[in-house]
Symmetry: C2
Subunit: 344 residues, 2 copies
């Protein structure tokens, strides 16, 4: 069970290696390798004989050995916690795209600080990945250094505004999205707009959303008292708490713009508990357009960011780089959309 590769295993037949398959097919191991990697280079008869043996005996190629000598087949990825953040969809997009192209996804997730992040990147690199897709990226200089020194293929799923990607980046401008939503709310007649964020420290994307919010207010001649901004954990409870804090600070608040649907949904529930009509007494806007947003009562006005698509595109971009495609854009902007529904 714990025994290293090869050799007999417990009850069943021995796990066969390529050498053994070759022996049984009456060819050299190299021919088996070729039959698998490049069937055209082997005569139909030989190939058929090999395949027949493989079929019968159940050979599974050792990817470790294979990747060591030839093409790398792992895509390493580092993501924030999957819970409550829409990251799950991105991961789904990545795995789908990876498997379609014959790659495997090595996943590290967590709440990274600078040091843990560097450590995580090092462990990924140890597996000799064909490339890296980084999302939970706090951008320690050491990590950047590590990656650019090594000259790795890297796609960051990140803020794309005013950032110089290590290699390539896929994403939206969080500034633009938040700006657009804030402007949208102002255009709909809301005046006192609260802003709820999850802790933005060291997180470029969240910072950009806040700046976008502020800039939109400024551009339309509104003030942005910082008392109308709060930070809470990314849970529905956080959203409810934020609402409580904000209305305490400003009882005339019109609308709350939550930088995540999870928060917005929590805030909506809190309104229900208080018996406040949405959007009449207080309006709520979210960010992300998760599945529930369109089914919530009232349906949630939010920013749609196509997460699955982002994951898919990130892999696609990586594969193009690996294929040596020329003139690859360093930054791939993903479209977004203000989804105007009933909650605001």
């Amino acid at each position: 069970m714990t025994k290293p590769p090869g050799g007999k295993t417990g009850n069943g037949r021995p796990r066969l290696g390529m050498k053994e398959i070759a022996r049984r097919a009456g060819v050299a191991p190299m021919t088996v390798s070729r039959a698998l990697a490049d069937p055209d280079k082997v005569s139909p008869q030989t190939r058929a004989r090999i395949m027949e043996v493989i079929e019968r005996e159940g050979f599974i190629r050792n990817q470790l050995a294979s990747s060591m000598r030839s093409r790398r087949r792992i895509v390493g990825t580092m993501v924030p916690p999957l819970i409550n953040s829409g990251i799950a969809e991105q991961v789904q997009g990545m795995t789908d795209a990876c498997h379609a192209a014959g790659y495997q996804l090595l996943l590290i997730q967590g709440n990274f600080d600078t040091e843990a992040e560097e450590q995580a990147i090092r462990s990924l690199l140890g597996w000799q990945p064909a490339g890296l897709i980084l999302q939970a990226f706090v951008q320690s200089p050491a990590a950047r250094q590590l990656l650019s020194d090594g000259d790795y293929a890297v796609v960051e799923i990140s803020e794309i505004r005013g950032r110089d990607p290590i290699d390539m980046a896929v994403g939206v401008s969080n500034f633009d999205t938040a700006y657009a939503m804030t402007a949208h709310l102002i255009d709909k007649g809301y005046r006192r707009i609260g802003f709820v964020s999850t802790p933005a420290h060291g997180n470029d994307r969240l910072q950009q959303r806040r700046i976008g919010y502020r800039q939109a207010l400024l551009d339309r001649g509104h003030a942005y008292p910082e008392s109308l901004e709060v930070e809470v954990p990314i849970t529905p409870l956080g959203g409810a708490d934020a609402l409580a804090m904000l209305v305490e600070r400003d009882s005339a608040l019109d609308v709350i713009f939550c930088s995540s649907d999870t928060l917005a949904i929590g805030a909506v529930q809190e309104c229900h508990r208080r018996g406040w009509a949405i959007p009449k007494r207080l309006a709520i806007a979210g960010y992300g357009d998760m599945d529930l947003a369109a089914q919530l009562f009232p349906r949630l006005t939010t920013v749609r960011v196509p997460r699955y698509e982002m994951g898919r595109r990130a892999v696609e971009q990586l594969l193009r780089r690996l294929a040596g495609e020329a003139d690859l854009p360093a930054v791939v902007p993903i479209g977004f959309e203000i989804v105007d529904r009933e909650s605001a």
Copy 2:
């Protein structure tokens, strides 16, 4: 960029191998290997010298080569789609536990049919994992055969009632959970109890939940007209649709037991849209106790299944097997709990 291991890379310094580190530290490669794997077997001075070089030059060990010759360090896992199902928490539990023990998680996710599932298992096995954790398991005989023949360490996260695990299993009895919730609802005085499930075909866990629901009704002398059971996709919209279908079939319906919180949340929204008081006009119960359940309005009565814990325990169980621990239980039941809140 696409170049295989070793050798010079684009702009930066060459990526160093162990041999090169050894040379610079004035020792044999083996000594470097030992300094890393088992520091006590190297004299403090030598170790210090080696570490100093590694620190300075930035060595990252090639895990491919390392795993080939010695301990395997990959845990392969196959899971259902991460979206909307609480699986994300399980994956979080798995990654946390894996990384704490120095393993990496190789992830395959998807909507598997029998054939795709076998294929997925084969790809995981190709990486010579120390063990497998399987969750999206439709249990094709071929897949079972493959795994038991190979004598792999396997933990299934699955139904644990009346099932003979390939190797080990961690989970709850879905029968018991659904039975308990149904009995709870009957005890609270509900009489006409609808049941909403996601498509149960080929899914043991969902089938067991349905059987548990039926058995509880039977045991308490209720009938279970199959017209009170519906299957819908696992989305909030599915929950809303299910509600519409059920109340159409039986306008006197008391309560709907949804076999997933995602469905229950959708059903709750549909009640709000219709202006129906919960639980007065119609009660709703869920399954899973996801984050939002406790924050929903009204707070959701549901079955708490500790998903994160399940993921963590699955890895723990695997590690024990790998450590050669004797008398390991084949089945690890995870506790569950009926969480009684306001929605039912």
